[in-house]
Amino acid sequence: MNDISQKRRIILKTALITGAVSAAISTGLAYANLIVKSAWPKEAFNASTIEEALLELTGSNTIIPSPDDILIKAPTIAENGIAHITIKSDIPKTESISIFIPNNRSPLVANFKLNPSVISTIITRIKIENSGDIIAIIKADNKLYSATKKMRVK
């Protein structure tokens, strides 16, 4: 555990340095986004809150709640803590679909980046450690949209 937290600190430091460098460049934000997209976002998966994870993943944590445009299809009760889930986004220009569970040790469960030809619906299975919310966050046209569904773990 100690080893992990040490590694995390190094990563955080690197992230800080990268951030500082990017800020110095006028196109800093676009550059930082590019770095995040090119590899597995370790900082985002290690983050303990959704806000932190989102910031690492997308560079923003301003969310527009849009329950009418995002459909989360999942059972109300997750047997053995595993649930089959469908997330459908009706938001135009959907670039990515992320699944967050605030009560999990690692709130960011998965992030799916979609090519424009992909229909913005993802079907998968997820682990839910404790009863609580499942949050779907859609990135579209550089904005973040969200929908929430409550689930119980049996």
Partner: protein
């Protein structure tokens, strides 16, 4: 890996191709304690799954420890043609990987 870990299918209907994939992988979160040795089982999970069609990346899935054992994924894309293929690749945190091809039916 010697054994096949990806079970994937692709089906074309009305201009849309649907891809299904079931991956055989332990997806160890690192939070479990082995009942035999009493020590923690080190994390081993898929970090990235990429799906390509005609060398174009359709989907990149980035996964954490919240994905269960033997993960499942399904999505659809506009286009595709019967007889052509979709490729799927996964890479885990230990650097293991596997690739599979699905012929669109």
């Amino acid at each position: 890996m010697a054994t096949k870990t990806i079970e994937t299918r692709a089906k074309y209907k009305n201009g849309v191709t649907t891809v299904n994939a079931l991956i055989t992988h332990p997806m160890e979160s690192g939070n479990k304690i082995s009942s035999k040795s009493g020590s923690a089982i080190s994390p081993r999970f898929i970090q990235e799954v990429t799906c390509k069609y005609n060398d174009v990346t359709l989907l990149t899935a980035q996964w954490g420890i919240g994905m269960p054992k033997n993960p499942y994924l399904s999505f659809s894309f506009k286009g595709g043609e019967k007889g052509e293929s979709v490729t799927l690749q996964w890479v885990d945190n230990k650097g293991s990987s596997d690739t599979a091809e699905a012929i669109i039916k």
